[in-house]
Symmetry: C2
Subunit: 188 residues, 2 copies
């Protein structure tokens, strides 16, 4: 069996190692916070060699963003409701629920942590953002194809995501459904 | 000389200790980041007793927000230009310059750090925000007294501050003068 076959088999060793490493990262973030553990500690907890992690992810920063992206894609997938207003309202409501939940501002904490770790951290942060922006852009493109007038992705970031993140970060205001829908309506 | 007189004398011992403690905090933040030093280490560097710091500030969290607030009030004082558009444009430009400068997102890092340190940290964060909101509200009230229609302070946070902070945090877009003025115009 070659590497290509192994990578494609969902229940295979590669998938198991991936899941164990992701779990180890999630646990270490929750116990110690970003910036307070090493690749060696992730490897020890997951029961794999350091070299397996470096071979697959390249760096701790890339591993951290892979874990965050997997989580985002699972918990806040980009919706496809058939209308732009529906998509944006659904997406905004998911984000509001997520950032006011027990994991809170995990993504903001990650971005702050990565911004402090030099070039490699910033690259990992940029890659994460680029992937989510690509997904958001697909949603906006679908609206355009339906003949709806769509904002650009940066406007969605500026006027829907940013206010929600800052409110939670600073502990002011509340993300009521009316408020979240209002952000979408105001932008559209 | 009683305490009241001492506190009012700008060049007095109390002011000197305050300045030395603030400088020690600023240095430790820059060397180690938030969450990675203690009151004892601040005291040692400032050449004062731990008890002096606890007596004056009560906790590390309160001291950290006092340093941040002093800095904010010095570098981004609330402007009074005679018009709401002028005030908001000046203020937004100050914030943009500050958060894209060498200290970058010091306030966001502080808010993230305080949010992670339990009740006392959240209280300190809330006090810092309440003081800046009070200043912003004065600016908005002046506009109201002149007969201008002013947004509320949370709207300024949501649609002027939040987009700038998030862009810097995520490293996307640029805070050009046109963009910053555009945030103000859009809100007004």
């Amino acid at each position: 069996m070659n590497d290509g076959q192994r990578a494609r088999r969902p229940g295979g060793r590669s998938a198991r190692v991936g899941a164990e490493v992701h779990q180890a990262v999630t646990d270490l973030i929750s116990e110690r916070g970003y910036g307070n553990f090493t690749v060696g500690e992730v490897a020890a907890r997951a029961g794999v060699a350091d070299s397996s992690i470096y071979r697959r992810w390249g760096s701790l920063e890339t591993l951290l963003t892979d874990v965050a992206l997997t989580r985002l894609n699972t918990r806040s997938p980009m919706p496809d409701t058939g209308s732009l207003a529906g998509d944006l309202r659904t997406y905004a409501a998911q984000v509001a629920r997520e950032i006011t939940g027990p994991e809170g501002l995990a993504v903001v904490r990650l971005a702050v942590a990565l911004s402090s770790t030099g070039q490699q951290g910033q690259q990992a942060r940029d890659d994460l953002l680029a992937e989510r922006t690509r997904q958001l852009q697909s949603m906006l493109d679908r609206a355009g194809e339906r003949g709806e007038r769509a904002p650009d992705a940066l406007e969605v970031l500026d006027h829907i995501m940013a206010p929600m993140y800052i409110r939670v970060l600073l502990g002011v205001g509340r993300l009521t459904p009316e408020y979240v829908d209002g952000l979408v309506d105001r932008l559209l």
